[in-house]
């Protein structure tokens, strides 16, 4: 059982575990009111299919306990491995296995499409965690079109200590077991993260991340679960038509699932990706959200939304890069891009909660976390764009986020 495994495991975990779980344990977002949508019906997902158990009453609860004692020698990771081996992954599998399968497929698809666009192969590193799970980091560096492109997935099993459970319980009451905060809980986290920095300063940087988190109760059943993620655009030179297309595509996906998503998630994005020491946003927007759980929508519908969002990346971003990758540019425009890259580094190292928590945690896979850094960046003292210039226009928009659609 979870409680028998050391609670300090979180402190020696690999990067993926840190990145994903930290976003949760540190999840007090800039505008907490934006973090909860209350219009959807609450449906409680009971993830017992994997164990062949049905729970409906105190007797059933006792059965579950007895069963979990028998399963004691198997961790959540081992049980999932066993199920994959014996039954494969189907629409009836637990969300953990379906999310893992989905992000692995998407990683392959995205890498394939970016390789086609660039004409350069990604380097692929697969890494394992001894506690269960691992990750695959794909990186393309100094290509023809891309200065750096990283697409990483991670699938992590671990144990949450009581302090982390306490924090999470503020947002997720299902994490509590029988009204009490347990000493420890097994958790599962899986996600896909990508970042693309094109060479041409007219082509925008893009970032995307979609993730799923779930806790297991001590009896092996699913406890709390939620999805989070988003995608945002960071141009050095602003083409309104690109910004509009990017946001229209995201809005279309959101609207298909819930008309309240897009306006809330666009606002959340503007608020989260904000370099407050510069009084400007990192980029020109996109969507960002967290805590999509049963208080917002049911698990199946939320997963469908996540799938549509992630699948929309290639058809949204690739046409923008195709239009911009061969545009002429001056040395001064390249320098401006380098200064914007510096601001990107500032956000990621100073303000991004996942990155800084990860970097401050011993044993993290640092190269996967810092895959998000640009290949090159620059800092110039007191560099102010000329009033009325294209550079000044970008800064104006970064200081006053725009509604593009």
């Amino acid at each position: 059982m979870a409680s028998r495994r050391p609670v300090c495991r979180l402190l020696s975990q690999s990067k993926a575990n840190i990145q994903l779980s930290s976003r949760r344990s540190l999840a007090t977002f800039p505008n907490p009111t934006a973090s909860r949508l209350t219009f959807a019906p609450l449906k409680r997902y009971v993830g017992l299919a994997a164990l062949g158990l049905l729970v409906s009453a105190p007797l059933a609860y006792k059965m579950a306990i007895d069963e979990s004692l028998k399963m004691d020698s198997l961790s959540l990771a081992e049980r999932d491995q066993q199920q994959k081996r014996e039954q494969g992954v189907t629409d009836n599998s637990p969300m953990r296995l379906r999310m893992e399968k989905f992000i692995k497929e998407q990683q392959k698809e995205i890498v394939k499409e970016l390789e086609k666009l660039d004409g350069t192969k990604f380097r692929t590193d697969e890494w394992q965690r001894k506690e269960g799970g691992g990750g695959i980091t794909c990186c393309l560096q100094d290509g023809k079109v891309f200065e750096k492109a990283g697409v990483g997935i991670s699938v992590v099993y671990g144990t949450l200590p009581k302090a982390a459970i306490m924090k999470m319980s503020a947002n997720h009451r299902n994490i509590v077991v029988n009204g009490e905060v347990p000493e420890s809980l097994e958790f599962f986290a899986a996600g896909l993260s990508l970042i693309v920095h094109p060479k041409n300063p007219m082509a925008p940087t893009v970032h995307l991340n979609y993730r799923y988190f779930e806790t297991a109760k001590p009896d092996g059943t699913s406890g709390a679960w939620w999805f989070g993620g988003g995608s945002d655009l960071t141009p050095s030179y602003l083409f309104d038509e690109d910004a509009i297309q990017f946001h229209r595509d995201l809005k279309d996906v959101c609207d298909k699932h819930n008309k309240e998503y897009y306006p809330k998630f666009k606002k959340w994005c503007d608020e989260y990706f904000y370099n407050k020491h510069r009084n400007e946003s990192r980029g020109i927007g996109g969507i960002f959200f967290d805590d999509l759980d049963e208080t917002v929508s049911d698990k199946e519908n939320t997963f469908a939304f996540i799938q549509d969002s992630l699948k929309s990346f290639i058809p949204t971003y690739v046409p923008i890069v195709q239009k911009r990758k061969d545009m002429p540019y001056t040395e001064a425009e390249k320098e401006w891009q380098q200064i914007r890259r510096g601001r990107y580094v500032e956000f990621n190292l100073v303000h991004d909660r996942g990155t800084s928590f990860g970097l401050n945690t011993p044993g993290a896979r640092v190269e996967s976390i810092l895959m998000s850094m640009p290949l090159t960046a620059s800092w110039k003292y007191m560099h102010d764009p000329e009033p009325g210039s294209r550079e000044a226009r970008l800064v104006d928009v970064l200081q006053s986020p725009k509604e593009w659609v």
Copy 2:
């Protein structure tokens, strides 16, 4: 009196205030045991010369209170201004005025010497704080020898809120007034910071900072005081002779004042300037210390040590740059320098308490804080130096700090 001024002033202060005071209010150093030297006699400095008061008994205390009530309309900054105007700054002036005069002279001297070496003039920006004090930031960018060199001083008057006083009282009992933590206290902070990034990858980056902090009691007398600072070297290519010379010069200055300083301050430097997410030091050493107060030595002797340390900068660093600035180097060596610059950025943005506190504080003078950033930096995914190479040798030393002298 201090308590009448708003305690939230710290939150809207300029950069210098933040940088200096934050280092104090956040001052829980990596190795707390290294932060206190207990061998020196305790001498209590009573900074009343400025007010013409003598304090020896309860009666004198009452006199001081009455006097301070008369002075009530003048802040510490205004009183210091008045004294400078009427009497100038002499060896009998309060340490505040002497430290300010000293760092201003040193800034001019250092800028002059670096300009001579580079053949390029610094840009100078003077800025004021409406609450009192201000700073002078001198920056040279894209010169002949230096990619970027910044020399900044700041002289700041402000008010500490109770929470900050509470924290400081753990290390500085003199900050407490009559056994109680007051609601607020006026403070003074002054320091000189510099950072030099040469162009040639064979010439090392250097950082230096010396600072003085003092609180005023509600009656206008000096409360707690302490000095802090240090200087450290960050080469991309390691020349042992440079490392040895740099450390020998620092050791000579330290030994002149106290034979226990150098070993303690070298260790403190290795521990503080540590990129723990990389398991390597930022640079190859130097000295670093804080909390040099009356429990270590008296104020006069400590100021003499600070003066000698700061004055040793030019004769220590300039000869190293002169030897390296025209050495031939390859494109690959320049790239390695850029990667090391990236690590420098990582330390400053992720781990340096002063920088991150400053950047997270509204109203900070960001350009002065980030003057420390290199002009250019690079991040390469999974870049590992060849075993046995000069690059690998540097990493070895960064992973196992060396005693150079």
